[in-house]
Every structure is written in C-alpha cells, then in structure tokens.
C-alpha cells in the first residue's frame, strides 16, 4: 500500500517535471497567473494562448535562441 503511494508520488513528480521542461505546463501557469491577477476577467483559450506564445518568437527571435 505504502509502496504504491510512493510510486504514485514518484510518477507525479516525473510528470510534473516533464510538463514543466517541455513547456506543456505553460498554459496552466498562465491561467493560474491570470486568475490570481484579475479573478473576474476571462482567460484566453488554450488554442489562442499557444498561438500567441509561438508567434511571440516571431517578434523577437532572440528569445529561446539556441547555441552552436
């Protein structure tokens, strides 16, 4: 019983890390942030948010630049 709980915690940890590292968690973070800042205001849909996030790189390609 304890073992499964520990395994589950480990899996949750790994999943959390993965989502953070790949940027999948970016939308959740944005919603959280937006709700906290202005509780009543509608938040962007995921589609719209991801669009803006990708398109922001268009405006300044130095963000997220990778090295040689």
């Amino acid at each position: 019983m304890r073992r499964t709980a520990r395994l589950r915690a480990l899996a949750a940890r790994a999943r959390w890390f993965w989502r953070e590292a790949t940027g999948e968690a970016a939308y959740d973070r944005y919603v959280e942030h937006a709700r906290r800042q202005a509780p009543g205001v509608a938040v962007l849909s995921r589609r719209e948010f991801e669009r803006r996030r990708t398109d922001a790189r268009e405006a300044d390609p130095r963000e997220g630049f990778r090295c040689c």
Binding site: A12, R13, A21, Y30, R51, P61, G64, R66, C67, C68
Partner: protein, 753 residues
C-alpha cells in the same frame, strides 16, 4: 545605485562558514584521488592504449571538485549572491516569459539551449594533436573560464532584469564598446552558420541515406507544426513522441532508399547541397515560426538531450580504449592536415565551445535570467550546465580517439592532401606517420554503408563513426553500425539545421534593427519586403562562406574553422570584459581576477591566433602569405597544388583575401572592446563615486527555494517554516502555488509572509 549599498554583506546568509565534517573531507579526498588517478593515467600513458574510463574519471573528478569549491567561492565571495533579493522572475512575474522556474527544470532548459554542435565538432578536430592537449583544455578551460563566464553573465543579467549582453555592454561600457559588441555578434553569427552548414554538407554529400533522412525531417516538422497549431495546441509531449518515432522510421527508411533505384535522386554533390541549404535557410526563416522552427526545435531538443544521455551511458558501459596517441607530432610541428598551426593558440581556438563559448553569454543574458527563481541558483544553472556541456565535449573527444588514427586522418584531411582513392589516402596517411591499408579504408566505409569516408571533414562523420562504434558495442553489434552511424549524422544535422533557421532569424532581427535607423519600416517584423530583404542578405552572407568552403581547393573546414573559433572566442572576450568591468564597477576589484584572468588568457589566445592568421609567413597558416604565394603563381603562369587549374588558383586568392580581412576585423573589434572596457575600469577605480551601475533596485524576495540540486538541512528547515507559515495564512493567494499544483511538486516552494 551600488550593489554594495543594496546588499549589505550581513544579509547574505551564505557568508557563514562552517567546517566540513570528517566524512565530507574523506569523501572529497576520495573524489580528488579518483580524478588525480585519471589524470595520471592520461598523462603518463606512453605507447600503450588506455581505457576511456580514465578520461571520464579525470573529467568527473575535476568537475566535482571545481563545482563544490570554486563555483561556491565565486557565488558566495565574489558575486555575493543574495537569497533575500528577489529575481526578475519573481518581481516581474507575468506567467509567460518572466516566471520563477524550478531550478532543475531551468537547468534542463539552459543546458538544452547552450548545448549544440560546437562541442561535438571542435574536440574531434583538435584530436589531431592527440587526446591530451584537447582534454586538458576542455576540462581546465571550463572550470576557470567557460563555466565562470556563463555563471557571472547570468548573475549580472539577472541583476539587470535579464538584459542582453549587447545592452549590458552599451550600458556599462559605453556606446562605442557596445557597437563593437553588436558588430561582433553579427559577424560571428554569419561565420558560425556557414561553418555549421559546411559540417552538414560534408557529412551529407554523396550520401543518399543521410540526405533522405534529413530531408524527411522537413515534412515531419510541418506535420508536427500543423498538429500543434490546429489539431491539439500545446500538446508537446504527444506530438514529440510521434515526431521522434517518425524520425527513427526516416533513418531506417534512408537505408532502404540508399539501396533502391531512388538512390541516385538523393545522391547530391556538395555544390548542389549548398544550394539546397541556402534555399532551405531562406524559406525556413520567412515562414511563420509555428510551421517549421517551433516543431523542429522540439524535435531537435528531444533528440539532442536523449542522444547525449545515451552516449554517456554508452561510454560508461562500453568503456572503449583510446587508440589515438596522447600527443601527436602535429602538436609541436603545427603542420597537421585537419587544421594548420601549432598547439598554442590553435588547440584552444579549435575546441572553442566545449571549454569556453562566447555564444553561451547570449543565452545566459537572454531567456534564463528571466526565469531563475533565486540568485543563489546561478551556480547550479550557469556553472553546472556548462560543466555538463564540457562533459559532452569530453565524450566527443573519446568518440574521435577510439577510432583508428589512420582512419581518423583519412576522414579529416582535405582531398587536396590525400587524393580521392583509398590507395592514395593510405599512402598519404602513411606519410603522416600512421598506417591504414586501402582495404581497411574501404571496409570502414562499407561497414556504415557509405560510398567513401575519405575527406569527410568537419567532425560530424568522425563523431558519428565513434558513436556507432560505442553504441554498436552496447546494442546490436556490428549489424547495427550503419544504423547508428546515420542516427548520429541525423542527430547532428537536425539541430544544425534548426540553428541555421534560428540563427538566420536572429541575424535578420539585428539587421532589421540597424536598418530601422535609416528607414523606419524595417523595424516592423510584419513588413514583408523588409523581412525578405534582410533574410536574403543574411542567408546570402553565410551562403557565400558556405559556397566558398565547399569549393575551396585547400579545404573549407581547414580554412574556415579557425575563423569560427576566433570569432567565438572573441565573443567570449566581450562577455568576460563586460563581467570584469561590472566586477570592478561594483566595488569588487579585489575579485576582478576571477573573470580577468580568463579574459587575459582568452585575449592572448585570440589575438595570437589572429596575428598568425594575418601575418604568419607560413602559407598554410597566414592568409595573406597564402594569397601572395598563389598570386605569384598566377602571375608566373604556374600551377601550385592542390589547385588543378588557374580558376582554382584565383579562387584561393579571393578566399584567402576575404578570410584574412575577416581575421583582421575580428582582431580590431576585440581590441576596441578591451580598450574601452579598460578605460571604464580605470575611471571606476580612480573615481568610484562617479560610478553608475544599471542594476535593478533591491526588493525583498518572498520565495524560499534551495540553491543546489539537493536541499541542505538548513534549506529544508526554511522550506518547512515557509510552508507552515503559508498554511496558517490560509490557502489564499500567494500560498506557494505559483508554479503548478503544490501536491505534485517535489519540494513545494513556500512563500515568506
């Protein structure tokens, strides 16, 4: 405002010094002994082949000691990182680009951003002088120069809300030094892109397998982009899994294509590949980011990190032996076929990124400082990630040194020197002092199902060969060699093509910004004519050097790689000069040597290399002497090998002139930046009261988070206290849930109340 005034030393809790426990002393002594043993085996082995395990031991032991002691010293004594000072991520948190990110996640982001093809290529080329000189510099260079530069730049940029290196140079040194830094970044970008593209062209030429699998990455990326944009926005994991599977399929399918009737279609000459690359670079950089760049980026990051991890495991499991001598005769004579010039300065210039990379300062002063949670974490993220990159370079060195030295020189010498048949190559390699029979050369090519491996310069094929050697020893045996070889080629080509796209965009952005001063609309990223024009200029510039590199009778890598190294080290000099200036200006003159000594060394290396490239009387080293020799030949109507006709003679004259002028330009830029920085430092020492720093004012941090990978006992207590305080304050806003569901987080980040 002054950093001294902002952060009185007593507030930095780090300054408390404790004695190490006897167990810790014993542990670190053991690490030191292991590292020392590794070094002695590397250095003292003469004539016999030694295991790569010693190189790994020397590297890991030295890294551990350097991280534990030197980086800690820099963090606490020199930079005086302040855990009570809020970082830009905390102060300006907007949930998007500024947000406090878990240190382990940020380490991953930062490492993925700094690691690239450079550390895989440089050490391979440097192996022509034997494994020892290169390995020493990779390890010593990183702990005293490369990792220090990354960490200190990251720290100062964090104190300045994540300002870029160029902006810091302008703010803290002056408009003149700032402009020189900007020109340097642009020129370096062009050379960098040309050399990386050249590496890929040399690896893919006459290889239908490689061309097919790389070509397939384009439709795969389009599919992924479409998936992320239209079908399921933001689902990076699932699309990447699909992408990686398709990629593996493309590698396997490449093998089928190479044996089918399509093989001729995908067999491209270097010249044709250049045109394809230039066309790709242009189209990719004007297409919207979501179509090609963003999905490619995911794909190449997964492949990059995954393959590096696999390679580390492979090296540790297979533990191959090093066949290359510790030091070859080329080290002293300076007449090696891979690159000309003697050990000092050219080994340092060639290794570049694995030990000290100027480009990292652009990442360390861009995205990362906007995401770092605590100032104390610059040590783990900045210093730690660079140590990891250096380990990648050590693995590349191992990959190059486990293959037969005769084969190594046959692959890495330009065809002007070794001819184009296995017989000629075997004879030429024998002249270098190594032996390999024509049959062995043919067999090595057949083992990886390539037509020929002769003169596959640029490092990628050598690295791929070493990697396939290591991997096939672990998985699949010799039957899998060809697959692993093309896997490695694909892995390098994938992220080099991504860099080509991203780098062209950055170059274009800088150009647009500059031209915007003359004609306003250029600044608008949505103004299509401006985008097309500036893209064409940037692509044309690196395309020119790529074209030249491919057609240079003297061998493109041979001629251009030193320029690339000089350019990269020049950017490092700019970064180290900015860091040193900031140390002096913020009243840390006593500690200015921490970046000042690596700066002095780097300037000595770069200027010596530039000097030799410009003025050396040896036509293989000095560009202008080379030019003179061939010009005299033209005037006398005399052919000088390796040129085969007068057209080639003229090509050499033009190339040497352009390369020489570029080397001179780099040298002038470096001198300008250093003199300007020196002037600012002198003024700051003479008139400390007039110093103006541009750092963001102090704000109390409310985040509690550990500094290193593992929380110390003290940090655990702080975390527990912060959590208890947050719980008693209720589950209202600011309860530490800023970065995701608290119950899922390993060590929830509490907030001070």
């Amino acid at each position: 405002m002054s950093e001294r005034a902002a952060a009185p030393p007593d507030r930095t809790g780090q300054a408390v010094r404790r004695r190490m426990s006897p167990a810790a002393v014993a542990g670190w002594a053991a690490v030191a002994v292991a590292g020392g043993l590794g070094w002695s085996m590397l250095a003292l082995a003469r004539g016999e082949e030694i295991s790569a395990a010693w190189m790994v031991a020397a590297a890991l032991g030295t890294y551990a000691i350097a991280y534990r002691f030197y980086s800690r010293f820099i963090a606490t004594r020199v930079l005086r990182v302040d855990k009570h000072r809020a970082t830009p991520a905390e102060r300006l948190d907007n949930g998007v680009d500024f947000h406090p990110t878990d240190r382990r996640v940020l380490f991953g982001h930062h490492f993925a951003a700094v690691a690239g093809a450079g550390p895989l290529v440089g050490p391979v080329l440097a192996a022509q002088m034997g494994y020892l000189p290169g390995t020493i510099w990779i390890i010593v260079g990183v702990i005293f120069a490369g990792a220090v530069q990354d960490m200190v730049t990251l720290f100062f940029s964090t104190r300045r809300n994540g300002r870029s290196l160029g902006q810091m140079a302008r703010d803290e040194i002056g408009p003149f030094g700032g402009a020189a830094a900007l020109v340097a970044v642009f020129a370096i970008m062009i050379i960098l892109l040309a050399v990386l593209a050249l590496v890929i062209v040399n690896a893919l030429a006459h290889s239908p397998w490689g061309v097919f699998s790389i070509g397939m990455t384009i439709p795969i990326a389009f599919f992924m982009g479409f998936y992320l944009r239209i079908l399921r926005p933001g689902r990076v994991t699932e699309v990447s899994v699909i992408g990686v599977l398709l990629l593996l399929l493309a590698i396997v399918a490449g093998g089928w294509v190479a044996e089918s009737s399509w093989a001729d279609t995908f067999t491209l000459s270097p010249g044709a590949l250049v045109l394809w690359m230039v066309a790709y670079g242009f189209v990719a950089s004007v297409l919207p980011v979501w179509m090609l760049l963003a999905p490619r980026d995911y794909l190449s990051t997964f492949m990059k990190v995954g393959t590096i991890v696999l390679l580390a495991i492979g090296v540790l499991v297979a533990m191959p032996t090093l066949k290359m001598p510790a030091v070859t005769d080329f080290a002293a004579r300076g007449d090696g076929p891979v690159f000309a010039g003697s050990l000092f300065p050219f080994v340092f210039v060639t290794i570049a990124c694995g030990a000290l990379s100027g480009f990292h300062s652009l990442v360390a002063s861009g995205t990362t400082p906007k995401m770092i949670q605590k100032e104390t974490q610059v040590r783990m993220v900045g210093y730690g990630a660079m140590l990891t990159e250096s380990f990648v370079a050590v693995m590349a060195m191992i990959a190059a040194c486990i293959i037969d030295p005769g084969l190594f020189f046959a692959i890495n010498s330009p065809s002007g020197m070794i001819g184009s048949t296995v017989e000629a190559a075997s004879a030429a390699v024998a002249d270098f002092g190594f032996t390999i029979s024509p049959q062995e050369l043919a067999a090595a090519a057949a083992a990886v199902e390539e037509e020929s491996l002769l003169s596959r310069t640029g490092g990628a094929p050598t690295f791929a060969l070493g990697m396939s050697e290591i991997f096939s020893a672990v998985v699949g045996g010799s039957a899998m060699k060809a697959f692993w070889y093309h896997f490695a080629i694909m892995f390098e080509a994938l992220f080099i093509l991504t860099t080509l796209d991203a780098g062209t965009r950055v170059g274009r952005f800088m150009l647009q910004d500059t031209l915007g001063n003359l004609y306003k609309p250029f600044r608008q990223v949505s103004w299509a004519p401006g985008v097309w024009f500036t893209s064409a200029v940037v692509v044309g510039a690196w395309g020119y050097f790529l074209w030249v590199g491919v057609h240079d009778p003297l061998g493109g890598i041979n001629q251009l790689f030193p320029l690339f190294g000089i350019a990269n080290q020049l950017l490092a000099a700019v970064a180290l000069a900015v860091c040193t200036t900031l140390l002096v200006k913020s009243g840390r003159l006593k500690w200015a040597w921490v970046t000042g000594v690596p700066l002095a060394w780097d300037v000595a290396v770069t200027l010596t290399a530039s000097w030799q490239k410009i003025f050396s009387g040896n036509p293989r080293v000095g560009f202008f002497t080379q030019r003179q020799v061939y010009q005299d030949g033209i005037n006398a109507g005399q052919l000088i090998p390796p040129a085969k006709d007068m057209g080639e003679m003229r090509t050499i004259v033009t190339n040497s002139t352009v390369d020489g002028v570029l080397a001179a330009l780099f040298a002038v830029l470096i001198i300008v930046v250093i003199l300007d920085a020196g002037r600012v430092c002198y003024r700051a020492i003479r008139h400390p009261e007039q110093v103006r720093l541009h750092e963001a004012p102090f704000e109390q941090s409310r985040i509690v988070a550990p500094a290193g990978l593992f929380a110390t006992a003290e940090e655990k207590a702080e975390l527990a206290a912060a959590e208890a305080a947050a719980r008693s304050a209720g589950s209202g806003p600011g309860s530490g849930a800023a970065e995701g569901p608290g119950d899922e987080r390993p060590e929830p980040v509490g907030r001070r109340t």
